[in-house]
């Protein structure tokens, strides 16, 4: 097996890195989803069990974790819409690079807004 394939337009460029990002964020979200269904299921154990475990999500360190999780979700969501455009829009493949920059721009705007709101609620005096 050749260890160094010839350079291509795809390898090491926007197409490849968005694919890597989509995979990593996808796996992270999947494992959180498993945990999140389990913690929500505690409502069937007792009101106090649920409220106690959900309390763990309310400490400052977790607030940063939640912000990271939402960052992964928002990237996966916007890049997923880009993948759909690449697959179904006639000019999708031609503009895939520009669409990635649009994804990153929208991601940044969304995350600035989310972080300000969520961190001020989660970290604010309560």
């Amino acid at each position: 097996m050749p260890t160094k394939p010839a350079g291509t337009l795809y390898r090491g460029r926007e197409g490849m890195w968005s694919w890597v990002g989509h995979r990593i964020t996808g796996v992270v979200i999947f494992f959180f989803l498993l945990v999140h269904v389990l913690d929500t299921s505690l409502v069937r154990v007792s009101p106090e069990a649920y409220t106690a475990v959900i309390g763990a999500y309310k400490n400052p360190l977790m607030a940063l974790g939640e912000t990271g999780l939402v960052a992964a979700i928002v990237f996966h969501a916007f890049n997923g819409l880009r993948i759909i455009a690449v697959d179904f829009w006639k000019k999708g493949a031609k503009y895939q690079r520009q669409m990635l920059w649009a994804v990153l721009g929208l991601w940044l705007v969304t995350m600035v807004a989310f972080s300000i709101r969520h961190l001020s609620l989660a970290l604010g005096g309560h």
Binding site: R23, G26, V27, I29, F30, L33, L34, V37, L38, T40, S41, V43, R44, S46, P47, E48, Y50, T51, I54, Y57, K58, A63, E66, V70, I73, A77, G80, L81, I83, I84, D87, F88, F114, R117, H118, L121, A122, H126
Partner: protein, 153 residues
Amino acid sequence: MTATIESPRSGRIAPQYRRSGGSRGNFEMIAWLFMRLSGVVLVVLIFGHLFVNLMVGEGIHAIDFGFVAGKWADPFWQFWDLAMLWLAMLHGTNGVRTIINDYAEKDSTRRWLKTVLYSAAAVIIILGTLVIFTFDPCPVVDGVPLPGGFCPA
């Protein structure tokens, strides 16, 4: 003078080059399509979920047993969460299946990992569905309502 060249794939295709057929049918195409369709719906469901639970009012501080009871008193949110559970689990399971197929090279390793994946997915989907439909805002144990419940006066 001009020779007519048949357009590609217009003739008979040797069996080993046929894309459809075989025992798996067009499962992979359906899976590919499902990722895109469920993806669009999940963007709406999850963004809505995050907005309502984290951005409105007191945000995360408002989430406790009463918050869940309030939401699931409404069939709208029961259906929302049920759709989110099923679509997200199937979307995520299929994504991880793709990753296993890509990186696990031995047949036995792939089979093992996928058995674990499908078992975990089945447990989570069934558990989540039961929790949504059997939720009780006023759980009672031995005739005594548990503290923190929402019981009719």
